[in-house]
């Protein structure tokens, strides 16, 4: 912009190329995770500066979940979502590919899309001055026959800011704001072995059904993420009454717990499972679903092998770092969008196999609503805990006290031939320690070489997956 004596004349024309922020390094924040002593400093849940660093280091670089392919089957179909706190439009292109753009006009910044989702959009028009963008993000035109008469106006180089990379894995679409980020598959590492339990247990693939349910919880985003990454321990106490109501008994991890249950972690992504076949599915309360899950488990042995086939409906949970989580068996998929250090916007969907019978799909949809939605018995149990785990840290003295993450510190399983860091038993803080270790790696490192070769990378011994 002109300053001084140029009397209103700009010296140069505006460069409207997308700006993708560079990462920094926050070693002091990385130290808030004490790996030596299995402790986490509570400032990671409350400190505004830590939160701003998370937006820069984690949410502006990680591959984040955007949508399921089934939500936007046709050109112009779109959903609006968030990447961190950035508002994003995800839209199917005319050539069948998927692009994503910041939902912000490059003129004065107003949003160009106001609805959550839609079909066959012709484009997106800003409400402020009528700037109009195609589903490819390009500026198509403006309003009022003004810019057309300004010969200095360079329409061709103006558009909605594209998400730097978009890719999909077996129906799930992810994006990253970092042009230098490793590929989606490298970001997952061998964790795809575990994702396939839900995404590839049946021919025909998967779909989301029944729309999305949104809610807000006044908690830090990491409490739900770490809960799903490896905390089945809480179910015994937190969910006891809900389990009593639905199952007529407590949470049961299966007779072969000592032999079968484990936690696995790669690059901070984590899954805990008890391999009990149908424990999670049972909590939805429909006997037909349990039969379906049993049959699916038998049938899926060919695709997934014996071990993973036992995991499809088992008591289990999973988080893909940083904030995408799901429950095998209960089939709820969700993103914990950060809204400041003390608040999240939670969006949940139900995933089913496309080839599942209609009445089975319907029971999953209803079952998830009864359990893992804002009015569901289990979601309400969890939400209150996470809110108070966050809120008590308003206390100045309280937040000086370290938190204990030391369950199972000597439980590493060096023998089981599975990808990633394997720990014995699902009742373990192992995955949560590795989740925060990954968090610290993102705080510490400004480059992907270091990010992909730290302590959370899969140990070499499991470079080749079992089966």
């Amino acid at each position: 912009m002109c300053e001084g004596d140029c009397k209103g004349a700009a010296k140069g024309r505006p460069n409207m190329k997308p700006v993708y922020p560079k990462a920094g390094s926050y070693p002091d924040f990385a130290k808030l995770v004490d790996r030596e002593n299995a402790q986490v400093d509570r400032r990671v849940f409350t400190d505004e500066q830590v939160y701003q660093a998370e937006l820069r280091q984690i949410f502006a670089r990680s591959w984040l979940f955007l949508a399921h392919e089934s939500q936007i089957p046709n050109p112009g179909d779109f959903v609006r979502t968030s990447m961190g706190e950035d508002d994003v439009i995800v839209v199917r292109q005319r050539d069948g590919s998927v692009n994503a753009f910041l939902n912000s006009c490059p003129h004065r910044g107003n949003r160009v899309c106001m609805v959550d989702a839609g079909k066959k959009a012709r484009g997106f028009i800003c409400n402020y001055h009528g700037w109009s963008f195609g589903i490819d993000g390009a500026l198509r035109g403006t309003d009022g026959k003004v810019y057309e008469k300004d010969e200095t106006f360079e329409k061709a180089q103006i558009g909605l800011t594209p998400v730097a990379q978009v890719d999909s894995y077996k129906g799930l679409i992810f994006g990253t704001f970092d042009p230098d980020a490793v590929s989606l598959l490298e970001f997952f590492g061998d964790f795809t072995y575990y994702l396939d339990i839900m995404l590839d247990n049946d021919e025909g693939g998967t779909e989301f059904i029944g729309g999305a349910i949104k809610s807000e919880i006044d908690c830090n985003w990491k409490f739900p993420a770490e809960n799903f990454v490896g905390d089945i321990l809480h179910a015994f106490w937190t969910h006891q009454s809900g389990a009593q109501a639905i199952l007529g008994g407590g949470v049961d991890l299966g007779k072969r717990y000592d032999e079968l249950a484990f936690q696995a972690s790669i690059y901070g992504h984590g899954i805990e499972t008890n391999l009990d076949k149908v424990g999670n599915t049972r909590t939805l309360g429909y006997p037909d679903l349990v039969d379906y899950a049993f049959e699916l488990s038998e049938k899926a042995k060919d695709r997934l092998g014996e071990l993973r086939a036992r995991a499809i409906g088992a008591v289990s949970s999973c988080t893909v770092f940083p904030n995408f989580s799901f429950l095998p068996g209960q089939n709820t998929f969700r993103v914990w969008h950060p809204r400041g250090p003390g608040k999240i916007e939670l969006v949940v969907w139900t995933l089913v196999n496309k080839n599942a019978p209609d009445h089975i799909k319907e029971q999953y949809r209803k079952g998830v609503m009864m359990t893992f939605s804002p009015g569901g018995v289990f979601e309400m149990d969890d939400g209150e805990n996470w809110e108070y785990s966050t809120r008590v840290n308003q206390g100045f003295v309280t937040r000086q006290q370290p938190l204990h993450y030391a369950l199972g510190i000597e439980s590493a399983d060096m023998e089981r031939d599975l990808p990633g860091h394997i720990h014995k038993g699902s009742l373990n803080d192992a995955n949560q320690r590795l989740f925060y270790t990954r968090w610290a790696e993102f705080m510490e490192h400004d480059n992907w070489t270091d990010l992909q070769n730290g302590a959370t990378a899969a140990p070499k011994k499991t470079a080749t997956a079992a089966e």
């Binding site: 028009i125 198509r140 035109g141 309003d143 026959k145 057309e148």
Partner: protein, 109 residues
């Protein structure tokens, strides 16, 4: 005077093509259910190209603000404020060539 525009075979069903005419503003030619339609390649609202828009249910859709113009009457639907109706030029397909009456400033419906 009818002016020669282009071979009519170049206008596929359901498509809009822009044709530059020497000494006159560019025109757009559309084909819908076999019939040809010729109109200014300029939306009446913001001077944008209508050939960069598309046809939908018998209407020309402007790709910029999504105003819709009936192909037979030019009546505008879903207009941005101040967007008038679209005018059409008289046109004919003479032995495989499109001709249109482009005289004067105003289009001839």
């Amino acid at each position: 005077m009818m002016i020669e525009l282009c071979p009519s075979a170049e206008i596929a069903e359901g498509e809009i093509k822009r044709v530059d005419v020497e000494g006159l503003p560019a025109v757009a030619i559309a084909r819908h259910e076999g019939a040809l339609y010729v109109f200014p390649d300029r939306c009446p609202h913001a001077d944008e190209s209508l050939a960069e828009g598309w046809l939908e249910d018998g209407r020309v859709i402007c790709g910029v603000h999504f105003a819709e113009f009936d192909l037979d009457t030019g009546e505008v639907h879903n207009p941005p404020v101040g967007c008038p109706n679209l005018s059409f030029f008289k046109c004919e397909d003479r032995d495989g060539t499109v001709f249109a009456l482009l005289t004067g400033d105003n289009a001839n419906v």
